[in-house]
Symmetry: C2
Subunit: 200 residues, 2 copies
DNA sequence: CTGCATAAGTTAACACTGTTAGCAAATATA
DNA sequence: TATATTTGCTAACAGTGTTAACTTATGCAG
């Protein structure tokens, strides 16, 4: 009869309306200020309607997180296909990854759980400096050791810190079945690779 | 007269009481569920008292973030002092960084703004796989290219991804005056270093 | 075409949250 | 002792996510 089809269509319309309204709000005000009430207001339905389509607020954000990973995969595929040699591909993908993250900050923040209010001020206080200075000084000493003083220590310092932070935060998020020993092997290998790359 | 001293002492006691109660709650229930009301309840004062000591809730969390950076700096210093050669120091500091992060997850999450609810489920959905498979496959191809197929591609993949994520998220948090061009140089240098390290 | 069951959508509430204005009580000073 | 000041409290405002209970609209069988 097409009645159930029409109903389904209508239901789907509301669902995508919720997502559209929510995404619009995420883009304009950030995901921190997303609220069920505001969504309901935007789609001109009452609040409980939203709960017929999503279990809770988190489920809506999760939807965007999924979308983000899909888009990211697409972007990486495209980048890879532009060049042939694997190392060039790794480089192209790195740039693509980077660009995606900064052109889609909201996605990236949702994907990796970044952006609590406090971290906006991370650069504002001095406590962080004590940590960075010791990192930087050691990097400089290491560059002297391998006779590569002309290298930009600031670049190397950022790479070093990023490897550490990246490894830690991805491991924290993943919660996979990896053993501690295996996790430490990842760390060891990455740091060894970094130390070797200091000589260049 | 010592009266103002006694008052100051009392004020300081309340302040540290607030922090102690807050930190206890962060440790037991996570910083997401920290609430001014619960703190007030714990220190047996009314709610507005807390606002005499901290401008808002964020300021309390920021306090812990600062503490975290201080402790981290201490840990890095200690690690560095255990060995002499700079590259060994970098390795020791890396382990120390890692251990600190996982032994003090709450600190680390506050320091770098990790831990929105959605990211707890990042490993649960399939969308992330599409992204990781393309990373892994390219890593494997690159290892073939440099005749280093016996290397553990999984380790290398984690290093690669971590460098990317680390660079991105630290740059996102920092909001420093770096130019885009400089930021890309950091990225380029780090990726080049990684690609070179693939041969080992 | 009417009565009824089901689905759709609403109101209103619960239990929270951060934050602040206005008032009462305790304290220190003149 | 009387006044001024600090200290702390009550109570409210303006939000939040979530859900129980009710009403209205819709589709279907008799």
């Amino acid at each position: 009869m097409g009645i159930v089809e029409r109903k389904m269509r209508h239901k789907e319309e509301i669902r995508s309306g919720i997502l559209a309204a929510a995404w619009h709000m995420v883009l304009t005000d950030g995901w921190q200020s997303l609220s069920i009430r505001k969504i309901a207001d935007a789609i001109e339905y009452s609040i409980p309607v939203i709960y017929n389509h999503f279990e809770n607020k988190e489920a809506i954000l999760l939807e965007f997180s999924k979308e983000g990973f899909q888009k990211m995969a697409l972007v990486l595929h495209e980048a890879k296909s532009t060049v042939d040699k694997p190392d060039a591909q790794l480089e192209a993908m790195a740039y693509a990854y980077w660009d995606f993250a900064f052109e889609n900050k909201e996605y990236y923040q949702l994907m990796f759980g970044l952006g609590i209010p406090a971290c906006e001020m991370v650069n504002q206080f001095a406590e962080i400096k004590e940590m960075t200075t010791i990192l930087i000084s050691t990097i400089r000493e290491a560059l002297v050791q391998v006779n590569n003083e002309q290298a930009d220590y600031f670049l190397k310092y950022h790479a070093y810190w990023s490897i550490l932070h990246g490894l830690v935060s991805i491991q924290m998020i993943e919660k996979s079945g990896k053993t501690d020993a295996f996790r430490k092997m990842i760390l060891k290998d990455a740091i060894n690779g970094f130390c070797k790359s200091l000589a260049f």
